[in-house]
Amino acid sequence: MGSNAGEFQRVSERGWRNGLANLLRKENRTWWGSRRWLTQSLLWLVVVNGLVALALFALPLAVEMDPNQNVEDVDFVAIGFQVLFQIGAIGMAVGVIILAQGLVIGERQSGVTEWILAKPVSRAAYILSKLIAHGIGVLVILVGLQSGVAYGLLSLASGDLLPLPSFIAGVAGLALHTLFYLTLTLMMGVFAESRDKLLGVALGTLLGGLVLSSIVGRLALVTPWLLPTLLPMLALGEPLPLPISWSMIATAAWCVVFVVAALWKFERVEF
């Protein structure tokens, strides 16, 4: 180092952790150092809990006004669970794909990745910083906050606190489902050359899976495709028609596979 370097305290990270702390600060800043946390919180509050609130408090009024239906026959809390764990799961998956689509590919195309990797930074740290920071952002704002508010709304509508263990199990499934699409999008950011291909694969997996899950039978258990159907039942503590643990374990395994594949490929990408 040059003449003034002795006055500085050097960064002590070594190996794959080189640059990780600084990159994590940068990625965390995109969630917590700007208004993103607020706008995303409000957006998903409207999208997810707005719909849950409609199902719990507005739908009964509409049913009451229909002379052909008896309000006592409809389980509005169960509909609220479906809105959160089925529609919410699919909505959050679409949201996470859109939020994460530019994380790797955007920086690669703009030349920022090349600039960062010319510093003492390991390629693994680059990918992991995005996974960790955006994983936390998505799990806290999209999954955690919305599930927490929904739990309050559902408990309010049911007149008592809902059983927490089954609800937490449902939220864990929702988190895994969301992480699946985050890791898939991150991996595609490394493999694909354009956003079109990335979005095609990620959204195709999500939407195509909804169709395929009814065609491929029990094979769908090794995918996340059945989770939106099974999670409301899991969260309600109802008996499940299929072993959801298979889907949960398989989804977690897919997340690991996507991260490993992204790390493997990114070591070989040239800038």
Binding site: F8, K26, S34, E114
Partner: protein, 332 residues
């Protein structure tokens, strides 16, 4: 020192103290295009090393190989004896790099960008890091724009910020890809001044198309053409012509007999004669500079009919040398 063995292809190198960058047989292909063919480069420590070549010659490819941004197809290299593939992160902790078109994170200000970059190298103390950032901003004349988002920076301002970022870690080696390309003449001079100042404790390896700048500050140059190294050496040596010495003589009068007399000398390799404004100009290539210095002018003046208006040892401009080398290569 022990030799090094590279993973891709066995290349044994003997790094030595006086060399900052050393490559041996370094090559890279992109598909069917061979961007770099077996490059053997030796960049002396504390030199300002100009890396020249036409567009597509392989200059940027070489720089990216040195920084680990792309992987060698053949051969290898060392920086301070450290392997450019295996020890890439350790090398990058001592290097400053300015890419050809600097790109930054648009949401950050100039100061935030410097802070972000500094923290890849330094964990503290805070006051010292902040002082270093101020120092760099001052150096490149961006103090008054430091808190503006880089998104709004002009090309020249981006280049200046890039130069500040390349120096933030007080590097032992600066790799600069066209550092003055987007700058106005004043900015160019500032860059050259910075390079001169850094020479004391750093090696500067830079590519450029501005040959005047190279002539002004570089002590060593390499010329790359179509992926091949075609010349490498001290600037003075290239400017003087590496293989022959040429004298220029401009005369008025009948030069016929003088020409025969000069051409008959054993140390004269050839005379290239041209006419201009009624005068005759010779370019006399000689094999013995001492003999030419002592006898050439005397031989010409021994003919009383001739008036010599100019007599000098020919010095080349770098642009001339560069063009000659590149053209020779093009004609095989």
């Amino acid at each position: 020192m022990a030799g090094r063995i590279y993973a891709r292809k066995t290349v044994v190198m003997q790094p030595f103290d006086g060399v900052a960058i050393q490559t041996e047989g370094l090559g890279k292909s992109f598909g069917h295009v061979q961007a770099l063919k077996s490059l053997d480069l030796a960049v002396p420590r504390n030199s300002i090393f100009g890396f020249l070549g036409p567009n597509g010659a392989g200059k940027t490819t070489t720089m990216k190989l040195l920084l680990g941004l792309i992987h060698p197809g053949s051969g290898g290299g060392t920086i301070w004896g450290q392997d450019i593939v295996r020890d890439s992160i350790a090398i990058r902790s001592r290097v400053g790099y300015l890419p050809q078109q600097p790109r930054f994170i648009d949401g950050m200000t100039g100061r935030e960008t410097l802070d972000f970059t500094a923290r890849f190298f330094f964990a503290g103390p805070e006051g010292r890091i902040e002082a270093r950032i101020e120092e760099m901003l001052e150096l490149v004349g961006l103090s008054d724009k430091a808190d503006r988002p880089v998104k709004g920076f002009s090309g020249g301002e981006r280049q200046r910020l890039g130069l500040a970022l390349a120096q933030i870690n007080d590097p032992d080696l600066l790799i600069l890809d066209e550092p003055a390309a987007a700058l106005d003449p004043i900015g160019r001079q500032d860059v050259l001044a910075v390079m001169e100042r850094l020479r004391e404790h750093a090696t500067i390896f830079y590519s450029t198309h501005i040959l005047d700048d190279v002539q002004q500050v570089s002590d060593t140059v390499a010329i790359l053409n179509r992926g091949e190294l075609v010349a490498q050496g001290p600037v003075e040596q290239l400017l003087n012509g590496s293989d022959k010495v040429v004298y220029q003589v401009v005369m008025e009068g009948d030069t016929g007999s003088a020409r025969a007399r000069v051409a008959g000398q054993p140390w004269v390799a050839g005379i290239d004669e041209t006419q201009r404004d009624g005068a005759t100009a010779w370019q006399v290539s000689v094999t013995d500079e001492q003999a030419a210095k002592a006898q050439l002018l005397r031989l010409v003046l021994s003919d009383g009919q001739i008036v010599v208006t100019e007599f000098s040892r020919k010095t080349y401009e770098l642009e001339e040398v560069f063009m000659n080398i590149v053209k020779e290569e093009a004609h095989g």
